[in-house]
Symmetry: C2
Subunit: 287 residues, 2 copies
């Protein structure tokens, strides 16, 4: 698809945070010839080394100011609670008029904080690729991580169409299906599709008595897999999208209570209806 477009390459892309997502973006940018230079910025040498080793970046630095100095695109791929301050810091040190985006899985609070007022004509446009894994770090990065996945962009009325088009094209080139949403709509959606299953997996894994570990098979493993994700990262995500997460949890608790009541009252037809509806939904989601 992207071969047919006239793609404007980036000179220098600075990726702040070269974990799984940042590393995979770097790999994909390089593999697809979308950037002349990819610079990785991070706090810890061990992460930067991993990013260099897998070929996700050309250069790395722990000095954010140096890392973004020549960037014509900055992508902040950090845990959500750190994004706002790093976008602001990047805007202080990158060339004037630079476009800055992120990959954070909550958007409303980030977009609100950064929608205008960045120094030196820099602009922020929020993004969120719906891709990832419970595995962390650039050593698990893959250029194909975004292939066929959704990438959400959350423009506001302050967003310049040219900036939107630039990121739309970028994510399309990375293989994603780009969707535009308001930050609020994004947060309500991912509360249901991402944060709710995470919460459910956490509750499930957390309650299993150790004596039962060896009796848990692939079903328990699948259902609880997300609980292996980073507690630090998810503490931030739940905090930043608190209201929508609580609403999603409320809906889930109602649904589970309906199932419990049907079991309790041996209400076979309601039970079958619930199981049939769930199967229909799940079958529609593919493997």
């Amino acid at each position: 698809m992207w071969g047919a477009l006239s793609v404007k390459r980036f000179e220098t892309v600075a990726i702040i945070g070269v974990g799984l997502i940042g590393g995979s973006i770097g790999l994909a940018l390089r593999e697809r010839g979308l950037a002349e230079q990819v610079v990785g910025v991070g706090r810890r040498q061990i992460s930067l080394r991993a990013a260099r080793r897998v070929g996700a970046v050309h250069h790395t630095t722990v000095d954010l100011a140096k890392g973004v100095a020549e960037a014509d695109l900055v992508i902040v791929c950090l845990p959500v609670a750190w994004i706002v301050e790093h976008v602001r810091a990047a805007a202080e040190h990158c060339p004037p008029e630079t476009l800055i985006t992120d990959t954070g899985s909550t958007k409303q609070s980030i977009v609100e904080a950064l929608d205008d007022g960045l120094p030196r004509g820099c602009r922020f446009l929020g993004g969120h690729p719906l891709a990832g894994s419970e595995k962390m770090g650039a050593s698990h990065a893959r250029a194909e991580l975004f292939d066929g996945r959704m990438a959400i962009l959350t423009p506001t009325r302050n967003t310049r169409p040219a900036d939107y088009d630039r990121l739309d094209q970028l994510w399309s080139c990375l293989g994603s299906v780009v969707v535009q949403m308001s930050a609020d709509e994004h947060d309500r959606t991912v509360a249901l599709t991402s944060q709710l299953p995470h919460a459910v997996a956490v509750a499930l894994a957390g309650m299993l008595p150790e004596s039962c570990f060896r009796f848990s098979g692939t079903g328990f493993q699948d259902t609880s897999r997300l609980a292996a994700g980073s507690p630090e990262l998810w503490t931030q995500i739940f905090a930043l999208n608190r209201d929508h997460v609580l609403a999603a949890l409320g809906l889930f608790e109602e649904q589970l209570a309906a199932l419990r009541t049907a079991i309790q009252e041996s209400d076979r037809s309601t039970l079958e209806n619930i199981l049939n509806k769930a199967k229909k939904n799940r079958d529609a989601l593919g493997n």
Copy 2:
């Protein structure tokens, strides 16, 4: 392991119900040379044909009496609600003194009904291999399905040691780790490890609005995968293990409520504790 034992082969094993589990047992018995003859018994020609096609059985029949007539082992691999009546029917028609077992995922009500009083000296010993998939039918059968999985046997004080040893050896030869439990202990355990995650996956899949389907990624898919299982099968399982399932759901609801409260009250340290505990448990379960 089983190569080193002196394994007593079966002459004729009758498998009643040749779906995923029955078909996989048949395949494994044949592949490992554990039975001279494997006979598949089923209600529907289409299932029996699938079992023959994958090589899970030598012969098939829709006539239970004929199917078990020469069996020295009968394995009932049917949905749990049908097991008791089919064990009784098999006992009427198989040779005297035949050992009959099952693979049902609930045990207490089945074992209670069949523990003594089978006609003509036939004996029932309950079993449950902790293996399976949301995919059904003999066409998905695999001889390796039980490799490295637990197989639970639920003897009672009426069980003859020789019968137990026979099934212990059978499941060991199929690659399983055999564990002995009371039927009640079994039911309490699988309520937590199997039926609870199923209920959770069903509630999760069931509540997702259609407009969100395309935003659900691998995380939602993993967490809700079990909901693709057979509604008919699971209606039976929830009904037959009602009390233990309700207890497990109660524990889960408490755990989820604790997580919700921590998010609601922005209680970061409790939230982190919950997430850390869940990660520790989940990491211990492997992939």
